[in-house]
Symmetry: C2
Subunit: 196 residues, 2 copies
């Protein structure tokens, strides 16, 4: 729950999990490695035995986030096997839940805002992972029988991305309240259009 989770698992896992949580809550530059290791119930030397630098830890956290997001997609497939349209609606509902989960936006987007050096290792994996997510949504739209699958997928992802930053700036009483309505409306109108 709090920052001080010290379940008995391998130090590396505890560090990774704690770092993910703290980076998410306080931002990357807002958390020092000392604070992470203390909250993880270990110490700095152990961290540097498992990660060669803070930057590498950041990258691993981002990859872990992406893995968790990947599990989400598999859950959709498990819940609605083969029904791609139902999975698309599930994605919309899940997105809406995430909007109200906490006032923080997407970890990748936040990391990109903080890590401005063009050659920062995190920037490459952010791009890579975001592109993978986009491809996934495009595929889902296409398999759901939607004609302009790329356009719908891009529109939906821009809306979602925008809603997350909106929550972060004005809170969840702002434009983001309309997200589901917008998304569902788009799906309907794209379904109406002729498939290629």
């Amino acid at each position: 729950m709090a920052d001080g989770v010290v379940e008995r698992s391998r130090p590396r896992d505890r560090i990774l999990e704690t770092a993910r949580d703290m980076f998410h809550k306080h931002g990357i530059k807002g958390v020092g490695v000392d604070a992470i290791t203390e909250a993880a119930g270990t110490n700095k030397m152990t961290l540097y035995r498992h990660f060669e630098s803070k930057d590498e830890l950041i990258v691993e956290c981002l990859r872990a986030n992406a893995a968790k997001a990947g599990a989400m997609w598999e859950a959709f497939e498990a819940e609605f096997p083969g029904d791609k349209l139902a999975q698309l609606h599930a994605w919309v509902r899940k997105a809406a839940v995430m909007l109200n989960a906490d006032g923080r936006g997407c970890d990748m987007a936040n990391a990109a805002a903080e890590l401005t050096e063009p050659e920062h290792p995190a920037r490459l994996v952010i791009k890579e992972l975001k592109e993978a997510q986009r491809a996934r949504l495009v595929t889902l739209c296409r398999d759901a029988g939607i004609g302009q699958a790329e356009l719908l997928a891009d529109t939906l992802s821009l809306l979602f991305e925008g809603a997350r930053v909106s929550v972060q700036t004005v809170g969840n009483e702002g434009p983001s309240t309309q997200f589901v309505r917008m998304a569902e409306g788009l799906i309907v109108s794209f379904r109406g259009a002729a498939a290629v």
Copy 2:
């Protein structure tokens, strides 16, 4: 152009302008007050004579940004006096230009991502300024004779916000390339719907 602009104006103005530029490029926590004053051709003592803290400087930079954005709206009115629909299309074009200007997103959104303390003074002005911008877009949509003005305004602003973070994460060859198409399509379809 570069960080080292040292035009001869009052130190306070130079500091403000330089800080805006550097915060935008490198993020807030990525820039120290020493670096700002040096780039502004002055020194730390002078900064602290004009701003009581770095936090206050941040807030002033955000307000200056909002003022610049306000000037943009007045330019629309000047270019298409009374023609609100033309101004709305001008907003879309301007947004598209900003998307390709540089790979950095909205300064307010980036600041919100970095400054996570809930009581940080910048968070209040970010919310205040973002809400003002939203109100402005809603008014424009309404005055352009669009029925569901709030919904269109919110959709457009989420799309734009999302496009900005998309540029920051995957670059300007990603989903953001479709922004104008999406926005124009929305305006058309909202115009088609019956006005209240």
